[in-house]
């Protein structure tokens, strides 16, 4: 399990981020004191750091620079300063990404996973869907030696349904997820995509896997 270190002085935000990221399959650690912060980050043996820029007594950008001197640890900066100059400065100090408060949580999640996939060599680019395997890099579903290619939207929908396996997912929820990842589709397109996805699953002999719950949404069983 990948370990993420949260460096944020707002206790509540830290707590909620921890809950959310743990739900999404990461191990979470956070700093409680902000003295000797650079050393603490390096000692934490994390795979990624979420770093708030406005910390008590120290400047996040300075910390970022110090960490970068000795380590290539992925750093995502979280800030409330929403302007180009700060963004550019952070990137110059060696941060990998920059998100502004209030952040879009799906985008943050996507940035974390792409960063982790890029930096870890043993990175897993396949998601196990029990009866089939979802290949992230080729965007295909595989079953034994058969494989079917998915379009961008179908791929995203299936990935989301796997994450929410055995739970009913409403159409609105799927739409919101797709929009957050920059596919701005409408209601009809979603219906078409779901139908095609179901068809492709059936091609692999996976009938009844994607169920429609009338008036509620869809469920992957």
């Amino acid at each position: 399990m990948k370990k993420i270190l949260i460096v944020e002085d707002d206790e509540k935000l830290r707590e909620e981020l921890k809950i959310f990221l743990e739900k999404n399959g990461y191990e979470i650690d956070y700093l409680e004191s902000f003295d000797n912060i650079t050393q603490n980050i390096l000692d934490s043996k994390s795979d990624l750091v979420l770093l708030d820029i406005n910390l008590p007594r120290v400047d996040g950008e300075y910390v970022c620079k110090e960490v970068r001197k000795v380590s290539s640890l992925p750093i995502i900066i979280i800030t409330s300063r929403n302007n180009e100059i700060d963004e550019l400065l952070s990137i110059n100090y060696g941060a990998d990404h920059y998100v502004t408060k209030p952040f879009n949580i799906q985008i943050l999640l996507a940035k974390i996973s792409s960063l982790l996939r890029r930096t870890s060599f043993d990175g897993n680019d396949k998601i196990d869907g029990k009866e089939f395997i979802l290949n992230l890099s080729k965007s295909t579903i595989e079953k034994k030696d058969k494989q079917v290619e998915l379009t961008k939207n179908e791929f995203k929908i299936l990935k989301y349904l796997i994450e929410k396996r055995n739970k009913i997912v409403s159409r609105d929820e799927i739409m919101e997820y797709l929009w957050e990842s920059e596919s701005f589709i409408d209601d009809n397109t979603l219906t078409v995509n779901i139908t095609r996805l179901r068809g492709k699953l059936e091609e692999l002999g996976l009938k009844e896997l994607l169920q429609t719950k009338r008036g509620q949404g869809y469920m992957l069983v």
Partner: protein, 338 residues
């Protein structure tokens, strides 16, 4: 200055000279001098007097005419003290000194207000940065506790976030200092981010989105443009077509510019009001319909920020059919694109 007014100022002097000439004439007559002297002496005095005041007149005329010409050509009139040459006569020197002193005092006074405004802007920025953390925290709490109630709170939080953003840019739009950073930015990224920001409302209202021809890049401040687009999209949502709302965003290349268009199929704007929507506080016929709650700030601010960024903003509309707002990025040495 004209000669008559100049002479008017010398009335007492002229009166005294004439009085003197008259006295001399009386003496000359009393002492029975010859006719030549009786005429020569007064005429001589009068001519000498005239000769003495003429250069005085011409020097001043030249100085003041020059001063007015300079003022005419100057956009910021108060800079006159900087370019006015020092005159070589006493009252002119005094005038220049007075102008310099009042000028200095005025500039100090203006600077005081500039400083106050800058200070206020800094406070607003600080305040907004502070308030972003509780907004972010609240949104995280909602994310971890999804239900019908928190979803509604989430929508209200989005509104709060939009209003704080508006306040931030309002503060930025009023200061003289440059507060933006020009960088090469992709239109696709800018548009995606703006739409993503409004996703909840757009999905709720069942908008269909049509994005095309957005492969271009422009040199601009991305954050500012996203803010402007955000204002435009919010209007499109507010004044949407109730049956099947659509939003089309695309760009087209002109010879001298690249234009980003945001077009909706909403209720449109009444004829004659299209240009007034950029005025501060203008709510128009649509805005006064109670359920729309127009503030008259969004487009006003967009226009102000566009002016600062050096891009054009234009609006076309047909009532009951569509509204299209275009952002015009000029192609020049500072603002090129491929």
């Amino acid at each position: 200055m004209n000669f008559r007014n100049f002479i008017k100022d010398k009335v007492l002097q002229i009166f005294l000279i004439i009085f003197g000439v008259f006295t001399i004439e009386v003496f000359l007559i009393c002492f029975n001098c010859n006719l030549f002297l009786k005429i020569y002496i007064p005429v001589c005095i009068l001519i000498l007097y005239l000769i003495s005041i003429l250069p005085e007149y011409f020097i001043r005329k030249k100085f003041y005419n020059n001063l007015f010409d300079l003022l005419e050509g100057l956009e910021d009139k108060y800079l006159i003290a900087e370019i006015l040459q020092k005159p070589n006569f006493e009252d002119g020197k005094i005038l220049k000194e007075i102008i310099e002193i009042t000028d200095k005092s005025m500039i100090e006074n203006v600077n005081k207000y500039k400083y106050l405004q800058e200070d206020y802007k800094e406070y607003i920025e600080l305040w907004i940065h502070e308030v972003k953390t509780p907004i972010a925290t609240s949104k995280m709490i909602i994310e971890n506790n999804k239900n019908e109630a928190t979803k509604k709170i989430d929508e209200e939080l989005d509104k709060i976030d939009n209003y704080t953003e508006q306040a931030l840019f309002y503060a930025r739009s009023n200061v003289v200092s440059q507060d933006y950073y020009i960088k090469k930015s992709s239109l696709q990224d800018i548009v995606n981010e703006a739409i993503c920001k409004n996703r909840t409302n757009l999905i709720n209202e069942k908008f269909s989105i049509n994005l095309h021809d957005l492969e271009a890049t422009v040199n601009t401040d991305k954050k500012w443009i996203i803010f402007i687009l955000n204002q435009i999209i919010q209007n499109s949502i507010k004044y949407r077509n109730l049956k099947s709302p659509e939003l089309e965003i695309y760009s087209k290349k002109g010879k001298e510019n690249i234009i980003l268009c945001v077009k909706d199929n909403g209720i449109g704007i009444k004829k004659g009001e299209e240009q007034r929507v950029f005025e501060k506080g203008f709510t128009g016929t649509n805005g006064r319909v109670s359920n729309h709650k127009s503030t008259g700030i969004g487009l006003y601010l967009s226009k102000k920020l566009s002016d600062k960024l050096g891009i054009g903003i234009d609006l076309r509309s047909e009532e009951g059919k569509f509204t299209e707002v275009s952002l015009i990025f000029p192609r020049n040495s500072y603002n090129s694109f491929e």
